[in-house]
C-alpha cells in the first residue's frame, strides 16, 4: 500500500532543517572551509528548544505567540503542497492562492513580532521585508497563474505538472521557473537579497527581525524559515521534474530535486555578493516581468 500524502508531508517536516544545512555545506566547499555539518540546524534547534527565553519588557502577547502562529501558517501551507504522486493532503481548486496567502500569514506574524520589541532594528527588518514582499508576492502568484494556464488545472497538484502536460509551453515554463527561483531567494532572504550569515545589523532583513528572539521562540522562528525554504524548493523541484514518474520513484526524485535547488542556491551564494538594497526591488521587478511574460506567452 502506498503511503498517504500526509506521510510525505511529515517526511518533509522532518527533513526541512536539512535544506539550509545543505546550502551551508555547498558554501563551505566553495570557500574551502570545513564548515558546519549538514545537520547543524537540528543541533541548534534542540539546544534552543531546551533554553529559557528572555523577552523584552515592552513586548506583549504578540511577541510570545507570534512565532508559533507563524509556524502554524507555514505548516498549513506545507499541507497544501503535493509531494508524492497524488495531490497534497488538503488540495482543492484554487489552493495555490491559499498557499501564497498562508506564506503571507507567516510574514504577518514575523513582522508583527519584530515590531513588538520596539527595537529600531526589528522595525527596519520588518520594513524591508514588507517592501520586498510587495514585489515578490505578485511574482509568485503570477508564475503560479501562468502554470495554471499552461496546465489547465486550478490545483497545485495539477499545475505543478505543467511541464509534463502541455506541449510547446517550454519558453513560458522556463520564464515561470526563473521567476519562482528569484521569489525563492527573496522570500527566504537568500543572497543577492539578504545575507543569512551577515553580522552587520544595519544590512539584515530576516535576521534583523529575529534579533530579539531567544530560546524556544528563536527555535520556532528558525524552524519556520527552514520549512519555508524547503517548501519553495519543493515547489520549484516538483515543477521542474521531468515526466510523471521518474525511474527512481517520485519521492526520491523530489528529494533529489530539493537537493538540486539547494545546490543551486549554494553555488549562487558562493559566487554573488549581497546587492545594495536599492537594486533589490529591480531584481524583484524583473521576476514580476518574467512571470508576466510567462503568462503572456501561455495566453497566446
Amino acid at each position: 500500500m502506498a503511503p498517504l500524502p500526509i506521510a510525505d508531508t511529515a517526511a518533509l517536516l522532518v527533513a526541512a532543517p536539512l535544506t539550509p544545512g545543505l546550502i551551508n555545506r555547498v558554501k563551505a566547499f566553495f570557500a574551502g572551509r570545513r564548515g558546519p555539518g549538514a545537520f547543524q540546524l537540528y543541533h541548534d534547534l534542540a539546544k534552543l528548544w531546551r533554553k529559557d527565553a528572555v523577552v523584552g519588557s515592552t513586548t506583549t502577547w504578540v511577541f510570545q505567540l507570534g512565532p508559533a502562529l507563524g509556524l502554524a501558517a507555514t505548516l498549513a501551507a506545507a499541507l497544501l503542497l503535493p509531494l508524492g504522486p497524488r495531490p497534497g493532503p488538503a488540495g482543492f481548486a484554487g489552493d495555490f492562492v491559499a498557499f501564497a496567502a498562508l506564506i503571507a500569514v507567516g510574514r504577518f506574524f514575523t513582522t508583527l513580532t519584530a515590531l513588538d520589541t520596539g527595537s529600531a532594528f526589528g522595525g527596519m527588518g520588518a520594513a524591508r521585508e514588507l517592501t520586498l514582499s510587495s514585489l515578490a508576492e505578485p511574482a509568485l502568484l503570477l508564475s503560479l497563474l501562468a502554470l495554471a494556464r499552461i496546465s489547465g488545472s486550478p490545483r497545485l497538484g495539477g499545475l505543478l505538472e505543467a511541464g509534463t502536460r502541455a506541449a510547446g509551453g517550454g519558453a513560458a515554463l522556463a520564464l515561470a521557473a526563473g521567476a519562482l527561483f528569484v521569489v525563492l531567494l527573496a522570500e527566504n532572504c537568500r543572497l543577492p537579497v539578504d545575507d543569512p550569515q551577515t553580522h552587520l545589523e544595519l544590512t539584515m532583513v530576516h535576521e534583523a527581525m529575529l534579533l530579539d528572539h531567544g530560546g524556544p521562540l528563536l527555535a520556532l522562528a528558525l524552524y519556520a524559515s527552514a520549512l519555508r525554504l524547503t517548501l519553495f524548493a519543493a515547489l520549484l523541484a516538483r515543477m521542474l521534474l521531468p515526466g510523471p514518474c521518474p525511474p527512481a520513484g517520485p519521492r526520491v526524485a523530489l528529494a533529489a530535486g530539493v537537493a538540486g535547488v539547494a545546490l543551486a542556491v549554494g553555488v549562487l551564494e558562493s559566487a554573488l555578493a549581497r546587492w545594495s538594497l536599492r537594486r533589490v526591488p529591480v531584481l524583484l521587478l524583473w521576476a514580476c516581468l518574467l512571470a508576466g511574460f510567462s503568462l503572456l506567452l501561455a495566453l497566446a
Binding site: A171, R278, P281, V282, L285, L289, G292, F293, L296, L297, A300
Partner: protein, 216 residues
C-alpha cells in the same frame, strides 16, 4: 522548427530582454554594453535566417556585428572618455518606470503583432513583435533620458528595431541597400560621437537640458 530558426527565436528573444536591460541601465557604460550586445546578437540573425547561406548575407552579418558590436560602442566610449562629470543619469530610487513602460510595449507588441497581415512564413515568428518592441524601446530610451549619450543609445536601439523589420524582407532586399543603411548608421554614430565630445568639452556635462542655453 529546425535548429537554425530555433536559434533565431532565441536571439530575438534575447534582444527583447536587452531592450528592457538598456532601459533599466542608468550608467552610460552599461547602456552602451547592452546596446552593443543587442546589435551583435541581431547581426548574427541574417546568416541564420537564410535557407542557403549566400556569401553576401554572410558579409552583411559580419559587417553588422563588426560595426554595431565593436566600432560604434568603441567610438561612444571614446567620446565619453575624459568626461568631467559622472556619466550617470540622475539616480532615482523607486520603480524604474522606463522598464515597466518597455515591458508594456513589449507585451502589446507580442499581443498585437500576430494580427498584422504578414507573409505566412513569418507567422508565429518573434521577429515582427520584437521589431515593434525594439522600436518602441528606442523611442522610450530617447524620451526618458536627459543625457545626450542616452539619446544616442535610443537612436541605436531604434535602428536595431528597423533592422529587425528589414529582416522580414531580407530575401528580397539587395545587399547594396543593407550596406548603405549600415554606412548611414556608422556615419550617424560618428557624428553623434563628435557632437558628444564637443558638448562635453563646452559644457562639462552631457545634460541636454543645458542645451536650452543655446536657444537664443
Amino acid at each position: 522548427m529546425n535548429a537554425a530558426s530555433g536559434a533565431v527565436e532565441l536571439l530575438v528573444a534575447a534582444a527583447m530582454a536587452l531592450n528592457l536591460a538598456a532601459l533599466g541601465r542608468l550608467r552610460a557604460r552599461d547602456g552602451i554594453r547592452s546596446v552593443a550586445q543587442q546589435g551583435a546578437l541581431l547581426g548574427c540573425v541574417p546568416a541564420l535566417l537564410a535557407a542557403h547561406p549566400r556569401a553576401s548575407l554572410l558579409l552583411l552579418a559580419s559587417g553588422t556585428v563588426l560595426v554595431k558590436g565593436y566600432l560604434v560602442p568603441r567610438m561612444l566610449r571614446g567620446a565619453l572618455r575624459g568626461a568631467a562629470s559622472p556619466d550617470e543619469e540622475r539616480p532615482r530610487s523607486g520603480v524604474p518606470y522606463g522598464v515597466l513602460l518597455g515591458a508594456a510595449a513589449t507585451a502589446a507588441a507580442l499581443r498585437f503583432a500576430p494580427r498584422l497581415p504578414v507573409l505566412a512564413a513569418q507567422r508565429g515568428s518573434l521577429i515582427l513583435p520584437a521589431s515593434f518592441a525594439t522600436i518602441a524601446s528606442g523611442f522610450l530610451l530617447m524620451g526618458t533620458r536627459s543625457k545626450a549619450i542616452g539619446q544616442v543609445l535610443g537612436y541605436l536601439v531604434l535602428e536595431n528595431g528597423v533592422f529587425l523589420f528589414g529582416l522580414l524582407l531580407a530575401e528580397s532586399t539587395p545587399l547594396i541597400v543593407e550596406m548603405g543603411v549600415l554606412l548611414d548608421l556608422f556615419a550617424a554614430a560618428f557624428v553623434a560621437g563628435i557632437v558628444i565630445h564637443r558638448i562635453q568639452a563646452t559644457f562639462a556635462s552631457l545634460d541636454t537640458r543645458r542645451l536650452n542655453l543655446l536657444k537664443d
